[in-house]
Symmetry: C2
Subunit: 203 residues, 2 copies
């Protein structure tokens, strides 16, 4: 095999490990997923995994980034497909719920999962989660600002506060939905968030 | 020492282990807390802990119950101290936020923490969390029903739906607050929940 083909193969293997590890860590947690779980999920020996990632810690951090980016891309693509700022906010809400339930990265929202696990127990992961959560918050805030700028909604609070309310409600709903294995609970919460958005709506 | 004094001493030691273990598991998670963490937190040898609890698993389950009951008692005592159904709901909201921040069981809401950790990874703990979460939900639902019955609020949805919305929003707010180490975020969410309650208010 040529050197280039070798590099491509390496990159493909690396991506495959990341995808499997992301779902595993997201489902079982950083502390709950063992090296043998990782070996089982990837079908690889420990040495094979370590060829691509120096340590469980580094693999977990990159798997977290991979999980978040996968989900954010799905959400943003759906939001982009809609016209109108309020419609984009409503689509974000539905897309968030869908991703919690149906993302290729199984296990629910990686932001919620890793926030709860890391806040007292894993400072490095926690910093990573803060950055990613702020990325989501800023994104929602921009959608809200656009809706205010276009005159579609009128807020009686700063857009950053409304973004926090939307995230809190959806993340809490995702937690309940996954705890009970009852997606209806998240759909109910989703409907409530959309009512909140529409109640700010001037049109 | 008499047999009775021995039993009392045993009970006190058992309670002390439970309290320390509850805070440890709630902060680091079931999988994140090791036996040596438990030994350090309790200041006891492994054998001493196993004298009172058969296994890490059984200790964790009882520590979870202890954490939830401790917090629910604080919340319910505060709610009981208020007159009027809407005032009780508003007090519940404040008390919940206070408990996430200031409970003797450090680490945030044990319902949220254990729900997120157990949903894909620990079926026995997950069942325990479902029961405890339903206890909180039923309690809030009864407060809402009382407020409807007394004519203080008028709901445009079933009280069980409004209870789910309150829990989702508060739990999500607690997660954000603890992630960022910024209690202001939970206070903001708390204010929003109180606005939701008041917006149903007829008086």
């Amino acid at each position: 095999m040529s050197k280039k083909a070798d590099m491509n193969k390496g990159k493909i293997t690396r991506e495959r490990i990341l995808g499997k590890a992301a779902a595993l860590f997201n489902s079982r947690g950083y502390f709950g997923a063992s090296m043998s779980d990782l070996m089982e999920a990837t079908g690889m020996e420990k040495g094979g995994i370590y060829n691509h990632f120096e340590s469980k810690e580094l693999l977990a951090l990159q798997a977290f980034d991979h999980a978040v980016q996968t989900n954010l891309e799905i959400i943003m693509n759906r939001v982009d497909s809609r016209e109108g700022a309020v419609n984009k906010l409503l689509e974000l809400t539905d897309a968030f719920a869908d991703v919690v339930e149906n993302s290729p990265i199984t296990g629910g929202c990686p932001l919620l999962n890793s926030a709860v696990e890391s806040d007292d127990a894993h400072p490095v992961l926690r910093e990573r989660v803060k950055v990613a959560m702020s990325e989501l918050k800023d994104y929602i805030e921009r959608l809200i600002d656009d809706a205010v700028a276009s005159g579609e909604i009128k807020l009686d609070m700063p857009s950053s506060d409304f973004a926090l309310i939307i995230i809190s409600t959806l993340e809490g709903g995702g937690m309940l939905s996954r705890l009970y294995g009852d997606y209806g609970q998240l759909q109910l919460i989703c409907k409530h968030v959309k009512t909140l958005v529409r109640s700010q709506s001037k049109v």
